[in-house]
């Protein structure tokens, strides 16, 4: 495995190195960097041109310029742009916003896209599957800049306007409830009657919930409160047990419930710690949660059920943590919303300039700025992931070894989780490396729509001025991201598929 990783690393570095030559060559030819200087009046033209020629080494041949750049870049100096500004400081300002956008959008697309793909494959040819397929096709065909502009115009502005007086109109309640109920009904396995029951209950539940939320002005000062957190955690415990082992046996369920209970205790106990934590604290807490879940699963599961109890307890614990996290975020919403003039969803820029607040408030600030650009990117990638996952799952479900698994008498849940899912995910890992390039391109476009001054601006200005330094900086980050994702995908592949480790 180590040899495999090292070899992949070596190949990646070589590929990356070659790509820098290609991009540097194109970047030096893209436009005449002296174009505006040539337009200057006679008296200043010569000196202005001389300055630029000197700064960009335009008097040197291509190969010399490349090695000058490479020599500096290896030492971490990305040079100066045509105006003489340090590219490093430009990059510092730009890189975190763009990477947040790209990685956030990719992770969300992967998680949701794969989930949707799996569900629609398991319900092949159902109304749900057909709807998902159609929506995915439409999303495939959406130009990102067009949808981003629409989102900015309607989602952001209209949502902020609505927040001023958060009353959900009756048709809206009806619409949302209907869609949710139809989805829930479509997810249920079983005959028409059980589907109708689920549909009816969900519909009624949603209508009551939304009406109550609207009437109490919940959206002005949202939050879940201990009761909802507790109920959600217990629901999660049952849900994860069903996924991991089914409800036939008590120990896994018991482990999950204990895990949820510990989470609820932590909700109260950790109050002071969670008032204004930092990211590290939260990561540590997540780690502790996983550890505790493991322990609970180990002891409660005993010899017979350990395999099921441990994952059930860990997942439930992490899920409860996520619910508590969400609750904290929501509780800070009112104060954050006030601090930005009641318009939490931003349409301009990557963050509120000079914003200073608690961890939760700055979290909401990032969320408010990232939400719509991410949504625009997610809509498009999501379609890719869900389609490929569906196709891959269906392919695997047709395999002989799935039939063998059924012939053993495994339950349908076990067939899917142990045989179909893992094998179906293998080809998806390679898709990640392709998609990340598309998302990076999409980010450039989306950033332009939302007026971010980030990597996209740097690239577009670089190309506009025929200035290789910012272009190369953009490539170092984006190409680097592609290579890293590629490697992660390859390693995931090798972990999932034992056949690869041999060759």
């Amino acid at each position: 495995m180590l040899v495999f990783i090292v070899r992949r690393l070596f190949v990646s570095i070589w590929v990356f190195f070659t790509a820098t030559i290609v991009i540097f060559f194109l970047a030096t030819k893209v436009k005449d960097p002296l174009a505006d200087a040539r337009q200057l009046p006679d008296n200043t033209r010569e000196s202005a041109m001389a300055v630029i020629i000197e700064r960009m080494h335009l008097d040197e041949p291509f190969i010399v310029r490349y090695f000058l750049w490479l020599g500096d870049a290896i030492q971490g100096d990305l040079g100066v742009n045509r105006q003489g500004l340090s590219v490093n400081s430009m990059l510092d300002a730009a890189v975190s916003a763009t990477l947040q956008l790209v990685i956030g959008a990719t992770v969300i697309s992967i998680v949701i896209g794969i989930t949707i793909g799996v569900i629609s494959a398991l319900r092949q040819y159902s109304a749900l599957d057909q709807t998902v397929t159609f929506v995915a096709f439409v999303c495939f065909s959406l130009p990102s800049f067009w949808i981003a502009t629409l989102l900015k115009e309607f989602m952001a502005i209209d949502f902020n306007d609505w927040l001023a007086d958060p009353v959900i109109s009756v048709p809206f309640i009806a619409g949302i409830s209907l869609v949710t109920a139809l989805t829930a009904g479509g997810l249920v396995v079983g005959d028409r009657r059980s589907r109708l029951t689920v549909f009816g209950t969900t519909l009624a539940g949603m209508v009551v919930l939304l009406a109550a939320l609207s009437a109490t002005g919940w959206f002005n000062d949202p939050g879940l409160g201990p009761i909802v957190v507790a109920l959600t955690a217990l629901g999660g415990a049952i849900g994860f047990t069903v996924l991991v082992s089914g409800l036939e046996w008590a120990p896994p369920l018991k482990a999950a419930l204990i895990s949820a209970g510990l989470g609820i205790v932590a909700y109260f106990a950790l109050g002071p710690v969670l008032k204004d934590p930092n990211l590290l604290t939260l990561l540590l807490l997540a780690l502790v949660t996983a550890g505790v879940g493991y322990g609970v699963g180990w002891y409660v599961g005993g010899d017979l059920y350990r395999r099921n109890a441990i994952p059930a307890a860990i997942f439930t614990g992490l899920f409860t943590g996520a619910v508590i996290f969400l609750d904290r975020m929501l509780q800070s919403f009112a104060s954050y919303s006030d601090s930005v003039g009641g318009r939490p969803i931003s349409t301009i820029g990557a963050s509120t300039p000079n914003y200073d607040g608690t961890f939760w408030q700055s979290g909401l600030d990032s969320f408010g700025h990232l939400a719509l650009p991410s949504l625009a990117l997610v809509l498009i990638s999501l379609a890719t992931y869900s389609r490929y996952t569906r196709a891959s799952m269906l392919e695997v479900m047709n395999q002989d070894y799935v039939r063998t698994a059924r012939a053993k008498g495994l339950s349908e849940r076990a067939v899917v989780t142990r045989h179909v899912l893992r094998n179906g995910m293998i080809p998806i890992t390679t898709l990640v490396s392709y998609d990340i390039g598309t998302v990076l391109g999409g980010a450039v476009i989306t950033e332009k729509v939302f007026g971010w001054r980030a990597m996209g601006t740097m690239l577009l200005e670089g190309i506009e001025q025929g200035d290789p330094m910012p272009i190369m900086a953009f490539f170092l980050v984006s190409g680097g991201a592609i290579i890293v994702f590629n490697m992660i995908a390859d390693i995931a592949y090798a972990v999932l598929d034992p056949r690869i480790r041999l060759s």
Binding site: F4, V11, V15, F16, T18, A19, V22, I23, L26, A27, K29, V30, K31, F137, V138, F140, S141, L142, P143, S144, F145, W146, T149, L150, E153, S392, L394, E395, N398, P427, T429, T430, S433, Y434, G437, T438, L440, G441, G442, I445, G456, L459, L460, I463, I471, F474, F475, S478, G479, I482, I483, N486, A489, D490, Y493, A494, D497, R499, I500, S503
Partner: protein, 341 residues
């Protein structure tokens, strides 16, 4: 091509070769279900024309292309629409579209096109003519990119898959290098370099940097086909490599290639319009659907039709091509209906 991708193909996660057996095999007969012998081509055609999505896509695509080509004409040939994309005029009624589709008895303005069905822009140009011009440009570029990317990808993929060894590693490493670059970056660089030299050149160059996916697919297919008995038989009687590739292997990858063309066209529409939107694609005086949206994005609040129409046409083109591609994939790879015995 990375090791993992290569293994994905070995593992048979690519569409299997049984979808496209040697031409002329009746695959239903092989299943022992029926003895009605149909050629592979007939079967594919039949499945394609029975695919509802594909039919809707095909009709939509023909309509859009027909409208774009005939309305304002192409080159010296005049179209039936009496306005041109360049002629300016006074904007009537703020340039509001005159198209109406709601009949009078339903309380609408009746079904008619009117003087300016898609409205006019701020200098009074007819927006229908402009949109049609943009659609023509976007279609020409997309088709060029699709065809060239598929051609290059097929040749490179087939050569890499068939010859293996030194040829394969050179070709696949160069593909890796291109994959490591975001498409928008390299396409934007090239688009800007050849700016103003016409849309045909732009389309050709875009095709030259977007062939990697096709190459990967074709290579995977060729890798599995070259181990097949009929290829070994051809090799054993001394058939030349060239002949084996063109007569025995490529005809069997036709399904993948045709599907690749459609997917490449659909993504080329989005790539070109995206590039044009950020100013790296089609340059004035030419226009394209992406360029139109870029030009009029600030008009969304005041004259939304200037923003909507080109977007609608982008979606119509990409969606219809995607549907056609889906139908073709199902037609060439009918495993979903397979019944075992």
């Amino acid at each position: 091509m990375t090791d993992a991708q290569r293994a994905a193909q070995k593992a048979g996660s690519e569409p299997g070769p049984e979808a496209a057996g040697p031409p002329g095999t009746a695959d239903t007969a092989a299943q022992g279900m029926t003895i009605v012998a149909r050629s592979q081509g007939q079967l594919v055609r039949r499945r394609f024309f029975r695919h509802k999505g594909a039919m809707v896509g095909l009709v939509l695509f023909i309509l859009v292309v027909g409208l774009a080509v005939t309305s304002i004409g192409a080159g010296p040939i005049p179209g039936w629409w009496d306005k041109t994309p360049t002629a300016t005029a006074t904007a009537v009624d703020g340039g509001r579209p005159t198209l109406s589709v709601v009949p009078e008895f339903l309380g609408g303005g009746g079904v008619h096109l009117g003087e300016h069905p898609f409205g006019q822009d701020n200098i009074g140009r007819d927006y229908f003519a402009l949109t049609m011009r943009g659609a023509q440009v976007s279609l020409v570029i997309a088709l060029l990119v699709g065809l060239i990317a598929t051609f290059v990808g097929t040749v490179i993929g087939a050569a890499a898959g068939y010859f293996r060894g030194w040829t394969e590693s050179t070709l696949m490493r160069s593909s890796d290098v291109l994959i490591a670059v975001p498409t928008l970056l390299i396409a934007g660089l090239i688009g800007t370099m050849i700016a103003g030299r016409g849309i045909v050149l732009f389309g050709i160059f875009l095709g030259l940097v977007t062939w990697m996916q096709t190459a990967r697919l074709v290579r995977g297919e060729v890798l599995s086909l070259r181990e097949k008995e009929f290829v070994e038989a051809a090799r054993s009687v001394g058939t030349s490599s060239r002949r084996i590739i063109f007569k025995h292997i490529l005809p069997n990858t036709i399904g993948i290639i045709i599907v690749s063309v459609t997917l490449a066209i659909a993504s080329a529409v989005l790539l070109e319009t995206g590039l044009s939107f950020v100013g790296l694609g089609v340059q004035p005086p030419d226009t394209s659907l992406g360029r139109l949206i870029s030009d009029y994005q600030t008009a969304l609040g005041t004259r939304p039709w200037l923003f909507y129409w080109p977007g609608v046409f982008i979606i119509l083109i990409a969606l219809s091509v995607n549907f056609i591609g889906d139908g073709l994939r199902d037609a060439f790879d009918p495993r979903q209906n397979r019944v075992r015995d």
